[in-house]
Each structure stands twice: as structure tokens, then as C-alpha cells.
């Protein structure tokens, strides 16, 4: 069972090369722009490298600046990850029918449950973990580049950068965010899998239409906004960020860094994992995802392909 699942997950990576390619492209773009100084120098100015060698910022402020830089770098990856997840899930059960290879896949001793599960696991865990690796690599590359930049000005990269970055805190927070975001958005993932399993054409359109139209219909008929809350507000109001005030503090430019630094907050500390896990909306979402996934399995199993 586990060996089969691993083989199926590997199969997903062979078929959907974008799972690697997309984060790699984002990483290369960021690395290249960091080489030209677009990324690093802008941030390093806060540390006022102008007074080379003499750090005019307290250690905790420097650490805050570097953390902000790292979060900023993770942003495009998380955005790309979600786009990738949408397209992956929509394609995952559609492609095998389009290229007619489904009969081959079904001629192998693997159940429909196992197959659909592998697609769900890819969306929930494999894509985030690969994105995570790409983020770490990018962070290291950009910091390395910054180190060269600092070193050329006669300052100590070790002192200014490497010893100041709270790597463990930063990366744990990133990993938590990468793994919780798909869970929070899992009802959409389930819906996309289901659409991918049943639609005869244009899965993107078929998946998007109800998400756009249903809230509109609800608004017109009942004047309420339950669906639009469920569909749109949900995606931005993840209960992981109840410490959002602190986050704002962190995100503000310039002098506020010192406020954040004074607060001595860790990124991980900003994420309220307990509140997230105890949030009923999370679990409702997971149940919805489960229902759609079972529906996708059912469609794959019972539909006659001839």
C-alpha cells in the first residue's frame, strides 16, 4: 500500500514536471535579480552599509530586516505554488482521459482510491515541500550574494548576516505556512480534483464558473453574501495570522523595524498554530475537500469511458 503510494507520487512528478519547474523558475528569477542587486541591496540599505564595517543597527533590528527580506522572497513562491496547485489539480484526472491513457492506468492493480489519493497528497504535501526546498535554496543564494556584496565593502558578512539571521525560526515559520495554506484552501483543492475527474472539456472554466456565479446569484436572490464570504474572504482570512497586528508592524517600512525588533518577536511566534488547528472552519473545509475527493474517486470508478 505504501510502496504503491510512493510509486504513484513519483509518477505524478514525472507527469507534471511543472511541480519542479515552476519553483525552479521563480528561484532563478529571484537569484538573478539578487545578482543585479535588485533584491539584496535594497534591503541591505536598511542596515546602512554606507557606514561600512560599523553596524549602526542593533543585532535584533538587523535580524528583523533580514527576516523581512526572507519573507518577501518567499512571497512569489507561495503565490506561484497556489497557481501551480490550481492547474495541477485541474489537470490531474483530466489529462489521463484526454490522452486516453486512463485504460492503461486502470489495467494496473491500483485502485481508484489510491490513484486519486496520490493526486490529493501531491497537492497538499508534495508541492509545498518542493516549494519549501526551492525557498531555502533561494534564501541561501541571496544571502550568499549579499555576503559577497558586504564583503566587497570590507564588512564582515558573518557578523552582519549569517549570525543575525534566525534561520531555524524563519524556516520553520515558512514550512508551517506552506503546509497549512493548502489545508486551509483544501475545499478548493477537492473541488478542482472533482471537476478534473468529471468534466469533458475546459476544466478551468468549469471550475471557476460556480465560484464566480453562485455568490452573484445568492446576492441577487437573497441579498446575502454567505457564499462570497466562504469563497473569497476565506482565502485571505486564514486564522493562522491572528497575530496580524504584529505582522503589520513587521511589514511597515523603515523606522518601525526597531519597534518590531524591540518586541523581539519570532516569525514562528507570529503564527497562531493553535488557533488555526482549533478553527472549525478549517475542519469544515477539510470535510468539504473529503467529500469532493470521494466524489472524484466515485466518478473515476463508475463512469463508463466508452
Amino acid at each position: 500500500m505504501i510502496a504503491t503510494q510512493i510509486a504513484l507520487l513519483r509518477r505524478e512528478l514525472w507527469e507534471h514536471r511543472a511541480i519542479f519547474v515552476v519553483p525552479a523558475v521563480v528561484a532563478v528569477l529571484i537569484a538573478v535579480s539578487s545578482l543585479t542587486g535588485q533584491v539584496t541591496i535594497g534591503d541591505m540599505k536598511h542596515i546602512d552599509i554606507g557606514i561600512v564595517g560599523a553596524s549602526n543597527m542593533p543585532e535584533n533590528a538587523r535580524s528583523a530586516v533580514l527576516s523581512v527580506m526572507m519573507i518577501t522572497l518567499s512571497g512569489p513562491f507561495i503565490f506561484a505554488m497556489w497557481i501551480l496547485t490550481v492547474f495541477y489539480t485541474l489537470d490531474s484526472l483530466y489529462a489521463e482521459r484526454k490522452d486516453r491513457s486512463i485504460l492503461f492506468w486502470r489495467s494496473i492493480p491500483v485502485t481508484d482510491f489510491e490513484t486519486v489519493l496520490s493526486k490529493l497528497l501531491t497537492a497538499l504535501f508534495v508541492i509545498p515541500l518542493i516549494t519549501f526546498v526551492a525557498i531555502i535554496a533561494t534564501h541561501l543564494l541571496v544571502l550568499l550574494n549579499a555576503s559577497i556584496w558586504v564583503d566587497l565593502r570590507g564588512a564582515s558578512p558573518w557578523h552582519l548576516i549569517w549570525s543575525s539571521v534566525p534561520f531555524a525560526d524563519n524556516w520553520s515559520a515558512t514550512l508551517v505556512l506552506l503546509l497549512t495554506l493548502p489545508l486551509w484552501l483544501s475545499p478548493f483543492i477537492g473541488w478542482f480534483l472533482f471537476v478534473s475527474a468529471f468534466t469533458k472539456r475546459s476544466p478551468l472554466l468549469v471550475a471557476a464558473l460556480p465560484i464566480v456565479l453562485l455568490p452573484l446569484v445568492e446576492k441577487i436572490l437573497f441579498g446575502s453574501a454567505i457564499l462570497s464570504d466562504a469563497f473569497f474572504v476565506r482565502s485571505v482570512k486564514m486564522p493562522l495570522f491572528t497575530g496580524l497586528d504584529n505582522m503589520n508592524l513587521l511589514m511597515q517600512e523603515g523606522e518601525n523595524f526597531s519597534k518590531f525588533a524591540d518586541a523581539n518577536l519570532s516569525l514562528l511566534g507570529l503564527l497562531d498554530l493553535r488557533d488555526f488547528i482549533l478553527n472549525p472552519q478549517l475542519w469544515i473545509g477539510i470535510v468539504v475537500c473529503g467529500i469532493f475527493t470521494v466524489a472524484a474517486i466515485y466518478v473515476r470508478r463508475y463512469r463508463d469511458e466508452s
Binding site: 504513484l8 514525472w14 490522452d99 485504460l103 492493480p109 485502485t111
Partner: protein, 285 residues
């Protein structure tokens, strides 16, 4: 003899259409069964039921399993090709072997690689880079490398040229078939498989028109090539089908001895294709 497939009153409807209508048959181990029928006769639906790809009414048992409900177990001992050349196009040959090795308990990678050595297919190639004939060869090597008890072939050579078709069946017989294995095969090109069948079933409008082994066909059916004048004389033997070829009559009989007919013309065993036409048209008449 062990029964590999056992069907009792199997039916399958799509809306009001009865694609398979109350069909009963047995297929025993070591047989090569040809399932022959016109388009839309219910062949593919019946095969799908056997493969557990579709549910059906009645009692259907394949290798002692309920094919629809125990499909995973079933697939460990069944192989099928439904229209070759539909392997996933993005996959590399080596990846295909890796995958099968990890999910199929009866797949022998060395066997598949040995077979591939005999072809021009490289393990680094992707399926999309292969010609249709090569994909067929690849698919066949996989099938042969899987130690399955039952092989189901649904129009396996559709769209292939004659050379590949012949090669496909030759390899199938030489490398795959032995007395422990059973094959069910459907095709339009009946002539090409006639000499490898041990049994034959005709299906039309969802029902079985004929279920017989090949030896019995030679005993039960006889074709008479006679002049128009003689054709009238044999009417008392009740031919169930009659046609005209080059000014002569060809009549098909069931259960009439050759000796009785020999004096009226040339007597021979009908080939499967002719018998099929005779049966289907004769029934309709």
C-alpha cells in the same frame, strides 16, 4: 479444467439499450477465446464487465473474483490491452518499467527488458517519440512480462499495418501463450486470428449467437458450394444462410453431415468470418 470466466445471465443496460442481454458462458483455462461481433454488438461492454471496469447485473466471476468489487486483486492476475498505442505519451520507457515494478507483483522487469532488446526501442525514449508500431511492441513486451492468468485484448491491433499485426500475434503466441494462460480477444480482422483461436463466441445485439470450440465448428457447420440447380435440391436440409458467389450458390448448414451434401457440390468447413456473416444474417432473415 478450471473455469477462468464464468458468466450467468449477465446483462448491462445503458438507459433503455440492453448492451449485454442475459448472456451466460464459461471460459476454461488454457483457451484462446475469440469474441466476435459487429460494431455496437456489446463486445466491449462485456469485456469491460469482465475487467471490472463496469458493473453489471447477473453473476459474473473472473478467476473466482467479483470483477467490479475486487478489481485490485483481479488486476494482479489479468492483463488487458484495449486498443494499443494508448500508453501515456509523456512517460519514458524506463519510468514505465520502474512504475510497473513497484506496483505490479507479477511484473518481471528483466523479461520486459530482454524483449525490448529485440526491438529498436530505447529505454530512455518517451512514448511520444515512438512510432505507433513501436508503442505496440512496447505494450506487448509489458503484457508478456506480466505473469497473468488471463489476458484480455480488445481490438489490440486497431490502426496498425499488416506487418505489425502479424508480428503482434506471432509474438503473442510464441512468447506469451501456454496451457496455463487464457486469452480473450476481440477484433474485426477475424481472418488474422482464426488459426490461433481454440474457441469462438459470436455476439449480436447484446446476445450470444454462437459459443463453440473450433473443433466443434468443423463438425457442426458445413458450407456447400453448389450450382443454382443443386441449391434447390438441398433446400430440404434447411440451409440457414445462402449467398451467391461467381454465379454459384454458397449455402451454410448446421448439423448436416458432409456425406449427405457431398453429391451436390463442393463441401468445406466455413471460415470464421463467413460463418459469422451467415449466423448474423441468417438469424436476421
Amino acid at each position: 479444467m478450471t473455469s477462468i470466466v464464468s458468466a450467468r445471465n449477465v446483462s448491462k443496460s445503458f438507459g433503455t439499450l440492453r448492451a449485454v442481454d442475459n448472456v451466460s458462458f464459461e471460459i476454461e483455462q488454457g483457451r484462446v477465446m475469440g469474441l466476435i461481433g459487429p460494431n455496437g454488438a456489446g463486445k466491449t461492454t462485456l469485456l469491460k464487465a469482465v475487467l471490472g471496469l463496469t458493473d453489471c447485473e447477473g453473476r459474473l466471476s473472473v478467476l473466482g473474483l467479483d470483477p467490479f468489487r475486487q478489481r485490485r486483486e483481479l488486476m494482479q492476475n489479468i492483463c488487458f490491452i484495449a486498443d494499443v498505442a494508448v500508453l501515456p505519451r509523456w512517460i519514458k520507457v524506463s519510468q514505465l518499467f520502474d512504475f510497473l515494478e513497484s506496483v505490479h507483483p507479477n511484473f518481471s522487469r528483466t523479461r520486459a527488458e530482454d524483449l525490448l532488446q529485440l526491438t529498436d526501442i530505447k529505454t530512455k525514449s518517451k512514448v511520444r517519440e515512438l512510432s505507433k508500431g513501436m508503442v505496440t511492441q512496447l505494450h506487448l513486451s509489458i503484457i508478456i512480462a506480466i505473469n497473468a492468468k488471463l489476458l484480455v485484448l480488445d481490438e489490440p491491433t486497431l490502426g496498425l499495418d499488416i506487418i505489425f499485426r502479424k508480428e503482434f500475434y506471432t509474438n503473442l503466441l510464441n512468447d506469451y501463450f501456454d496451457e496455463k494462460r487464457t486469452i480473450i480477444i476481440t477484433t474485426h480482422q477475424v481472418e488474422e486470428i482464426e488459426n490461433l483461436l481454440t474457441d469462438v463466441m459470436f455476439i449480436d445485439h447484446g446476445g450470444l449467437v454462437l459459443d463453440s470450440n473450433m473443433d466443434a465448428i468443423a463438425e457442426d457447420y458445413v458450407e456447400l458450394l453448389a450450382s443454382a440447380e443443386n441449391a434447390v435440391k438441398v433446400a430440404r436440409f434447411k440451409p440457414f444462410y445462402e449467398k451467391e458467389v461467381f454465379g454459384k450458390k454458397v449455402l451454410t448448414f448446421e448439423g448436416v453431415s458432409r456425406e449427405q451434401l457431398a453429391e451436390f457440390g463442393e463441401v468445406r468447413t466455413p471460415n470464421i468470418a463467413d460463418l459469422f456473416v451467415a449466423k448474423i444474417k441468417g438469424e436476421a432473415a
